[in-house]
């Protein structure tokens, strides 16, 4: 399944609805380009909606970490929304579950941005 990123603003937050597989190659590139494009436009309050992400490999995990670091280095915030069980388990195994701010409800997640 091809990775897709749909971008929509909600208040001062930019939500990126991701769908498909975040793996080495196209999937990771789509995520990287989406985040870099937003940051270059000064949009540094980013909520990544992973509800329709069916699969992430170690490259995809690395891309999430890179996105988090990129946004934070610009003084912004990046949060994750709606993890599937597989992605949730991966972030727990890799101890990244405590690094990311992870939300289940979109409205609550948007409010959580400073």
């Amino acid at each position: 399944m091809t990775m897709k990123a749909n971008i929509r603003p909600v208040d001062k937050v930019t939500i990126v609805d991701l769908s498909g597989r975040i793996t080495l190659g196209e999937g990771s590139v789509v995520l990287r380009d989406a985040v870099r494009d937003l940051v270059s436009k000064g949009k540094t309050k980013i909520l990544l909606n992973l509800g329709d992400v069916t699969y992430i490999d170690s490259s995809g995990i690395g891309e999430l970490v890179s996105a988090f670091t990129t946004v934070r280095n610009q003084g912004g915030e990046l949060k994750l929304l709606k993890l599937t069980k597989k992605v949730h388990d991966l972030l727990q195994i890799t101890k990244l579950y405590t690094v990311f701010d992870i939300k289940d409800d979109e409205a609550e997640a948007v409010k959580a941005f400073k």
Binding site: T23, L24, G25, D57, S58, S59, I61, G62, E63, V65, S66, F68, T69, K86, L90, I93, T94, K95, L96, V99
Partner: protein, 168 residues
């Protein structure tokens, strides 16, 4: 993609000895591309399902194969079109044994870092082998001079439970 029985191929390291406990064995020689990684992963799903592993185990096995195949294509063969990597799926009475061998310059095990260490937690890379070890019951990595061979083993039923218990 045509399956064939592995003998011993120069540059791929030592092939596994086929013994009387092997129920089924198939192997593929694949180009050093991301498409081949997807092929190896998909085949792992199919083999694991056919072997009777549950949905979660199929996912874990396929992901371990994907990570090992990525290592072979990216770090081992460096996307070199003249180099192949070999994937062998072998079902025995007790285990699914998957071997992946590349034709690269070899893997320095000393360079593997702990991705859970605080200083590595936010690094972009370095989680592939860790995930493989997390998802499989046994993992063996051998430097074949040249090339690297990684063997991934998932036990069936009670053998898996015993292996996990012993590893605690």
């Amino acid at each position: 993609m045509r399956p064939y029985i592995i003998k011993k191929k120069p540059g791929y390291g030592r092939a596994h000895r086929v013994d009387r406990h092997v129920k089924n064995r198939v192997s593929y020689s694949l180009a050093s591309t991301l498409e081949s990684v997807n092929t190896a992963e998909q085949k792992a799903f199919e083999v694991a399902a056919k072997a009777g592993f549950g949905e979660d185990e199929q996912y874990h096995i396929a992901m371990a194969v994907r990570e090992a195949a990525v290592n072979a294509v990216l770090h081992g063969n460096g996307y070199d079109p003249d180099k192949k990597f070999l994937v062998a799926y072998e079902m025995t009475l007790e285990s699914l044994v998957i071997t992946i061998a590349d034709q690269g310059s070899g893997l320095d095990l000393k360079c593997l870092t702990d991705p859970l260490a605080p200083e590595n937690l936010m690094k972009q890379t370095g989680r592939g082998i860790f995930l493989i070890r997390s998802f499989m019951d046994e993992v063996k990595i051998r430097d074949m001079h040249p090339g690297t061979e990684i063997t991934l083993i998932k036990h069936v039923g009670h053998k898996a439970a015993n292996a996990k218990e012993e590893s605690k």
